[in-house]
């Protein structure tokens, strides 16, 4: 891949409750409309007010797969923001903050090689009606410094505020423009005024060098979307017609999206009294014949475990989206982790087949949204989609048609139609023993397909039994589906040079950071590639073994403490990684951190 010529990070930081996330999203969308690739990362606390939040936007002329350090432009909506992020600014970076901030030591900022832009943010906002528009002013000033056209930002503000009545929308547009003008003028003034330092020798630089220019190189209509929404779109495209959930960060936005569009899409959604009910409702809806899912995070999933086993035992297709967050227990509710893998694979008493998918990208999320239903119905078992806060909430830009519903394939697995049932000569056997382990399903409602499911062990007719023959038959039948399912699972994906000296083994949302790390390593002349797993259970062993045979030195990179995927791999294949890189502080690895970690783990030469 040709290296990027532009790769900047803009961060907007402030207090919880200050609307940091919505402003950040607006700016990211604007930059996308201006012709740039973007990737965003949300960093917020589990509180409604108080405490520092920030939103990071990476911008480039090349497609992006992860966030990155350091920051080139900081919009500080509080004084605290400055303190927290100052250490993380690139040389020559700029900071925009309100001129009214009392305790800011401009000299200190400039001594760090950073351009300080105390700006009339609140003044401008207040003049047009309300200090609430400070964020808009900051975006305007940022546009001025970065040199981007105002139009894309204005259009996003129009989309966002259009509804609120023209006065608010108008005022925001004016604040935006005036702040941009102020910044452009200020920049011009400084550039004209003095030649000063360049920021690399500790001197205060005079000119801001991380400019984007009016328009980026990316053409065509594009969309900015995060994993939760991509997954929701995939589910809708795949015929999901029922969703029940109980709110739990970071799974909630998926459910809220399905709910918001419910009228149009026909997806019946139910905010249940708890997660047990949500999961049970999904089981009920699946039995009725609907494609049904639930969304949650680890704590809610813990409560679903008993009903998960029910679905496994009565062989109903259900889809459970678990957006992981920092654990254990309540843990770090708004932060990211990959701590639930071995739990998901083994959850619930006894043994039954399940499928675990861990999409790596936005496109994967979309695909998982519909493919999960195909797998669930083909193998009549629960499918768990493991995402995490990072993937669920990071925006990436894609061509507007990238999540194409025409590419969606629907496979409902073996279902008897009404005419199949009409034609039945023998009594219908819900759990007929078959070579694949999958028994053709009759959706309840047909006179020839009358049966009663039971979570007790049962015979082919679905009657309760304790006889050894039926037990062994049914247990083997169910478990056999795992082999059938394994054949439908995909092996891992390679990225980067074949035969690299070191292979990053990863899964789920680490696709992006690892992929970008591979690119950076290549640029630095290091021989690193990536082997990414998204179909985690059952592992397609032959394909996995073939891939592993091509690995020279394996380093498992995981967003957890104990290297859960490395353990899983060892459990199934016996393969042992040489080292593991683990991060468990609730913040996603950056590509840079991965490369640094790699150096420690396997030496600088790799």
């Amino acid at each position: 891949m040709t290296p990027a010529t532009v790769d900047l990070t803009v961060t907007i930081g402030g207090d919880a409750g200050q609307g940091i996330e919505s402003s950040g999203t607006a700016f990211a969308r604007a930059l996308m409309r201006a012709g740039w690739h973007i990737f965003t990362m949300v960093d917020y606390r589990s509180r409604i007010r108080g405490g520092h939040n920030f939103y990071q936007i990476r911008v480039s002329d090349r497609p992006l797969y992860s966030h990155s350090d350091p920051v080139h432009l900081l919009l500080a909506m509080t004084e605290e923001t400055l303190k927290i992020h100052l250490d993380n600014l690139a040389p020559g970076a700029a900071v925009i903050y309100d001129e009214g901030f009392k305790r800011v030591d401009r000299a200190e900022i400039e001594a760090a090689g950073v351009l300080a832009f105390p700006a009339p943010l609140s003044r401008l906002a207040a003049r047009h009606g309300s200090k609430v528009m400070m964020n808009t002013a900051a975006l305007g000033a940022a546009a001025g410094l970065l040199g981007v056209d105002l139009e894309p930002i204005a259009s996003v503000i129009h989309d966002n505020f259009g509804r609120k009545g023209s006065r608010v929308a108008e005022a925001n547009q004016e604040v935006l423009r005036e702040a941009r003008d102020w910044a452009a003028a200020e920049l011009a003034r400084r550039e004209g005024g003095q030649a000063g330092g360049n920021g690399q020798d500790g001197q205060a630089p005079s000119a801001f060098r991380y400019r984007l220019g009016p328009r980026g190189p990316v053409t065509g209509r594009r969309m900015a979307i995060h994993g939760n929404h991509a997954l929701a779109l995939g589910a809708v495209a795949g015929g999901c017609r029922f969703a029940a959930a109980y709110p739990m960060t970071p799974g909630t936005s998926l459910f809220e999206f399905l709910t918001a569009h419910s009228h149009r899409t026909g997806v019946v959604t139910k905010h249940a009294e708890d997660e047990i009910a949500a999961m049970c409702m999904v089981v009920g809806a699946a039995h009725a014949g609907a494609r049904a899912l639930t969304t949650t995070s680890g704590g809610g999933f813990s409560l679903m475990v008993e009903a998960l086993g029910m679905a496994g035992m009565v062989e109903l297709p259900v889809v459970i989206v678990v957006a992981q967050r920092g654990g254990p227990s309540t843990g770090l509710p708004t932060r990211t982790e990959q701590g639930d893998l071995l739990f998901a694979v083994h959850a619930s008493q006894g043994e039954f087949p399940r499928i675990v998918l861990a999409p790596g990208t936005i496109e994967d999320c979309f695909e998982a949204g519909w493919r999960a239903f195909n797998l669930a119905e083909s193998f009549q078992c629960p499918v768990i989609i493991l995402t995490d806060q990072y993937l669920a909430s990071s925006l990436r830009d894609l061509p507007a048609g990238a999540l194409d519903r025409r590419g969606v394939v629907i496979d409902r697995g073996p279902v008897l139609t009404a005419s199949d049932l009409d034609a039945l000569a023998e009594p219908y056997l819900r759990f007929r023993d078959t070579p694949s382990g999958v028994s053709p399903r009759a959706i309840p409602g047909h006179p020839k397909g009358v049966y009663a499911l039971t979570t007790d062990e049962h015979d082919e007719e679905s009657h309760i039994t304790e006889e050894i023959g039926s037990r062994v038959q049914q247990m083997a039948k169910r478990m056999r589906k795992l082999d059938s399912a394994a054949a439908a699972m995909r092996g891992p994906r390679w990225y980067g040079p074949p035969d690299a000296e070191v292979t990053l083994i990863c899964w789920g949302s680490l696709y992006g950071p690892c992929r970008d790390a591979v690119d950076r390593a290549a640029a630095a002349g290091r021989s690193v590639n990536m082997l990414h797993f998204s179909d985690l259970w059952p592992l397609p062993e032959d394909e996995v073994n073939m891939a592993l045979a091509m690995v020279n030195r394996a380093v498992a990179v995981e967003q957890n403490y104990s290297g859960q995927f490395a353990r899983l791999l060892r459990m199934v294949t016996g393969f042992e990684v040489e080292a593991t890189l683990n991060k468990f502080d609730g913040r996603q690895f950056t590509p840079g951190e991965i490369l640094e970690g790699l150096e420690e783990a396997v030496g600088a030469h790799a």
Partner: protein, 320 residues
């Protein structure tokens, strides 16, 4: 001619098979008889158990309402009585302990064309499943909830249940059950149930009449059945119930719609225990308020062609 039922089964046009189509043999016209529900699988309940009468009453109720085996879904929990679906020829689902109401809610929302009965024990309904109980009451989803209330955990061999009389000695209450019992009818009333009834397994014909009204009721309908467990509950016997049960409808001035009367009746439990419909009112069902359901039809009937292109495009558009 059979009577007709509202909501599920034979009522209002094409009943029956959810997907993929097919009204089937009993499309609301053929006569349904209790025998249609007979199964080869004999109940394993103890001789004399109150659950036999409940099974018979359910068959008769459905037959009287003209609801055929494929037009009903009987969802149970785990317990002695919850094995009922194994002993009847009808669609069923023996779920897990305490959760049948939640499973039934999902089923109804995906297929509101079928009659849904929930049949479970007092442990299921008022013990471990108590949260679903109170929320289902206020939700007013259209299903009939028949509780086999034997005031004991029978299948696990005799521990006290939430409805056991205070002081009742069991293996987990050697000093007597320590808590004031749940009075399900009172709790349902406070939680907002629109149909609250009690029946007694020892008065089968009355029980059938109550069940029929419950199935006809548009919304959540509770039928708490006093079900003697002859093996583990030696206190609340047929005789005990029989001495106390009186038909509420026979009282002078009986008006099940009057909340003041109802409040007294749902709270009465002692020397006299009212049976019959204790309270009945009509509020919109949950299903009626679900626009996705009203506009797009049952999720169970989904076909691949359902989603119009404009809808998709508008959804995607919002991300550009």
């Amino acid at each position: 001619m059979p009577e007709t039922a509202r909501g599920g089964g034979a009522a209002g046009g094409a009943p029956g098979a959810a997907r993929p189509g097919g009204g089937g043999a009993n499309g609301g016209t053929a006569r349904v008889t209790p025998k249609d529900f007979d199964s080869e699988h004999r109940p394993t309940w103890c001789p004399g158990c109150g659950d036999y009468a409940i099974l018979t009453a359910i068959k008769k109720t459905l037959a009287d309402l003209g609801i055929a085996p494929h037009q009903v879904m009987i969802i149970s929990g785990i317990g002695c009585g919850s094995k009922l679906p194994d002993y009847i020829h009808a669609n069923g689902f023996m779920t897990i302990h305490g959760r049948p109401l939640a499973v039934a809610t999902g089923f109804r929302l995906a297929n509101p064309e079928m009659t849904v009965l929930v049949v479970d024990g007092d442990g299921d309904a008022y013990g471990i499943g108590g949260n679903h109980f109170i929320h289902t009451c206020r939700r007013n989803i259209n299903l009939t909830h028949i509780v086999q209330n034997n005031q004991i955990y029978a299948l696990t061999k005799g521990q006290y249940s939430p409805t056991s009389e205070q002081g009742f000695v069991t293996t987990t209450s050697p000093d007597g059950a320590p808590e004031r019992p749940v009075l399900p009818t009172a709790l349902a009333f406070a939680a907002g149930a629109t149909f609250i009834a009690r029946a007694f397994a020892g008065r089968p014909q009355h029980m059938v009449e109550v069940m029929k009204e419950a199935v006809r009721h548009p919304g959540y309908a509770l039928v708490d059945v006093m079900q003697p467990c002859v093996t583990f509950n030696k206190l609340n016997t047929y005789e005990w119930y029989d001495q106390r049960a009186y038909d509420a409808a026979a009282e002078p001035g009986y008006d099940p719609a009057d909340p003041v009367q109802a409040w007294e009746r749902v709270n009465q439990w002692g020397d006299r225990i009212p049976i019959g419909i204790l309270y009945r009112t009509v509020r919109p069902t949950y299903e009626e308020g679900v626009r996705a359901l009203q506009r797009h039809g049952p999720p169970a009937r989904w076909t691949e062609r359902d989603l119009p292109g404009e809808v998709w495009d508008a959804m995607v558009e919002a991300f550009t």
